[in-house]
Subunit: 493 residues, 2 copies
């Protein structure tokens, strides 16, 4: 007789096959799709999503999950079962009417936002967002009831399993206690050195070749993935065929190059997930925060280090010739430039966490019912001024209307960006300790030693361990801002 | 209460959404997929196919199809129901064990063929093909039993609904009565004129730009499709987002250009299918032969005409400069060059039907049990010599092992290539009659008048009419080789 666990493995294997098609069609939508194809594509992807949900929601699945609990499973199988239950619980928690209402309200709000944001129309946007928030609160209450978690935690746990607001709060409180002053110090130091501006234009094709060269240096497996262009850089596809994208700015090669490095970090995590767990939940990446820790390990920890820049600079010169602003010193200054501004996605390494913290504080209060939609602009403006010294009053389009996340109810995601930065610093510090002379070896182009460490400590584990356990095994300590602060102070103070 | 027909529309609408994802993932497989992604992709596409089949095979569907028969439907709905029943019958006819055996034997034969063909290993290939043929005969018997058709007809009807061997035989008998002699006459005429050979190389990027320009001239809607590169040119995607491909040969721009024109013919049919029938079987293209008639109307009837060549030649010169072999006369000679050879996909317009007829005769006899696998080489060699004067003895790899079609049991498809050529000639002759001065208007770049006629007579009807009815409405006559012969004699004799 087939065990309940084996039946579940078959089910999830089949779901992962359908999700493969979602992933490829989703990538295609942003990279290849013709404009007139969008309606049919949205319908097709929704139909597949319905099928996936229906298979998970079948009564037999709940029975199998209970039965598997009683079976004799090894540690990996048990961890796999935990992930299966988490997935099942998330998918089946909400009444269909709420799912539909959420989907409609989210689509309406996002759709209108695309016009309202350029028009700076906060009033119009707020009207739609109120409905989205109302439904998100309803969702959070139901999920909290079912899981025994707090309302915001019940959403956060989907993106960052195991993370709780009561653990985030002290991390972010600590951060906000030293970050504004560190930004000020960095700005003062930066003001003492003149910046070399770039000259001429940067051929997109040369930028693409440089990107591919750097991906190769970073160990990207080109037999299991590719680089393309899209409006917003992302990492998509499936582990055996990871699709990363970038976009080229002819006036500056750095944004595309840094986004390629960032997405390559995501890609290597995916490409090196444990293939023995292929098609099972335990084989997936641990969390959004852990995923971001890999992209930021590449983009911030590695790529902006002196050691790596000494490798990178000759490649840059090779593609763009000898020009002002391309020498090592100017390059280092440019990748570490601090410039507080209104827009999160344009933020530098030092200012980025401020953007995230303020969003976390606002969305958490929204979900808990401590803040109303009408209160968002004031809360936003106050924090932007406090953390970054930036005045956003009245400029909704570059303030609280800039992100797409909230428009369709994606609450609980924002903190994972900064958790990723914190994990990355902690992991990198541990790697430096474990691998003597790491920076010298990086400068010599021996990057394999670093990737081997990341593979052994993060990539190869998939979802075997909780994030806490993974971090403790890799770094010997629970999550803390200590390494992150040390890293930022070393680099910017 | 929802009518049975309305329930069926909902079912087929949902199936078409899933098939959208099949189409895009299928395109991606040939154009974008990384090599290591192939196993997971094959599994994912198979899972989706299983889901589609399961939905069609649900007992309720047969009930709905019977019930809808009794409902009051208009002509279009009735035509739609006919297509639904055809699809349902095809999908549910075979016992699962036979489907699985076919799939395994086909995969094994095709997989081995990829090595056996280059090795000219007929004995090895024949061993696998015998099993494929055995299962195809079993399939044909079951389908014949269920449909009341002949065994070969029961397969042919899938690709070319309504076509029967007893109607194909006289068409092909007529063709074979005059074609060999026409080929001889063409070769004699051709021998009297020296050919200008091409010089230099043709930049793939310039070839691509020329291709895009010609696609625009041919009315391709770039908001509903795109051009990419693949090992074998094809037309894929969905009507709102048609994906055509080509491949570039640096030594000659003509193969890529002609394949772009061919695929653009397929693409315009797809892009102009009736959107009011979107997602219903009646909204699909009529048949494989009718589809091929559109690609051949573009590639053979239109693009190789004097009128069109006079439009095309300046575009060619524009991209590749003034070189030997690019003037109008040399271009015309090259696109109409006749060269009997062993390989079907390299065949010219005049020799192509000979390749198809011999395959039809062999595959029909195989399915009817009148020929065994071991008899194929002799049957092949005899016909190649008779039709084309080409000796293929012992050269299996360039003889009866050259095509992929039979390896996984695709019997009944080959005739549609030549049916397409016959339909194309008949349609084009009717268009010429209906549109006075058509060639002058083509030479003036007024192609819209031709496309308008094709749209009104073919594209916009989807599957409303049978192929016979469609042809009779468009040309006033049932299918016949008359226009095809006249066209070939005018061009080549």
């Amino acid at each position: 007789m087939t065990s309940a666990y084996a039946s579940l493995c078959d089910l999830f294997q089949r779901l992962s096959r359908l999700e493969h098609l979602s992933a490829i069609s989703g990538w295609d939508m942003y990279v290849m799709m013709s404009s007139k194809g969008s309606t049919a594509r949205a319908e097709a992807m929704a139909e597949l999503e319905l099928e996936i949900q229906a298979r998970l929601a079948a009564p037999r699945v709940a029975e199998l999950l209970s039965a598997a609990e009683q079976e004799s499973l090894d540690d990996d199988q048990r961890a796999d079962l935990v992930e299966m239950k988490r997935r099942h619980a998330w998918t089946t928690a909400l009444p269909p009417a709420l799912v539909e209402a959420k989907s409609l309200a989210g689509a309406r709000c996002e759709h209108a936002w695309r016009r309202q944001r350029p028009a700076n129309d906060w009033t119009g946007f707020a009207a739609n967002l109120r409905e989205v928030v109302r439904l998100a609160r309803e969702e959070a209450s139901i999920r909290a009831e079912l899981t025994g978690l707090g309302r915001y935690d019940a959403l956060l746990d989907h993106y960052e399993p195991g993370m709780r607001a009561e653990r985030l709060d002290p991390l972010f409180a600590d951060l906000s206690s030293w970050l504004p002053e560190l930004i000020e110090r960095a700005l003062e130091r930066q003001a003492r050195v003149a910046e070399t501006s770039l000259e001429g234009s940067f051929d997109p094709e040369a930028q693409r070749r440089l990107g591919l060269e750097v991906m190769a240096l970073l160990g990207f497996d080109f037999e299991a993935g590719r680089l393309d262009v899209s409006a917003h850089p992302f990492c998509g596809g499936v582990p055996s065929d990871v699709r990363i994208t970038t976009r080229f700015d002819e006036g500056d090669f750095l944004p595309a190059l840094m986004s390629v490095i960032h997405e390559t970090g995501h890609a290597r995590y995916e490409q090196n997930l444990p293939s023995r767990f292929h098609g099972r939940p335990i084989g997936l990446a641990r969390s959004m925060g852990m995923h971001e820790s890999q992209s930021l390990s590449f983009e911030m920890q590695l790529a902006r280090s002196d050691a790596f820049l000494s490798l990178l600079q000759p490649m840059v010169s090779n593609h763009f010739g000898r020009r002002p602003g391309l020498d090592l010193e100017a390059l280092a200054r440019r990748v570490r430039r601090v410039a507080p501004g209104k827009i999160r996605v344009d933020a530098d390494e030092l200012c980025y966490p401020a953007h995230v913290m303020l969003r976390y504080q606002i969305e958490r209060a929204l979900i808990e019912g401590e803040l109303e939609v009408d209160d968002i602009p004031a809360a936003w403006d106050e924090r932007m001024l406090r953390y970054l010294g930036v005045d956003t009053r009245g400029d909704y389009r570059n303030g609280c209307m800039q992100d797409i996340h909230w428009t369709d109810g994606g609450f609980g995601y924002f903190p994972t960006y900064t958790l990723g930065a914190i994990y990355a610093a902690q992991l990198f510090a541990a790697a430096r300790q474990a691998l003597p002379g790491l920076d010298e070896r990086i400068a010599d182009g021996e990057l394999g030693v670093l990737f081997g460490w990341l593979d052994a400590n993060v990539w190869s584990h998939g979802s075997r361990y909780s994030t806490d356990e993974l971090l403790r095994r890799a770094t010997g300590a629970p999550v803390s801002t200590q390494a992150y602060r040390a890293h930022l102070e070393r680099r910017y103070a």
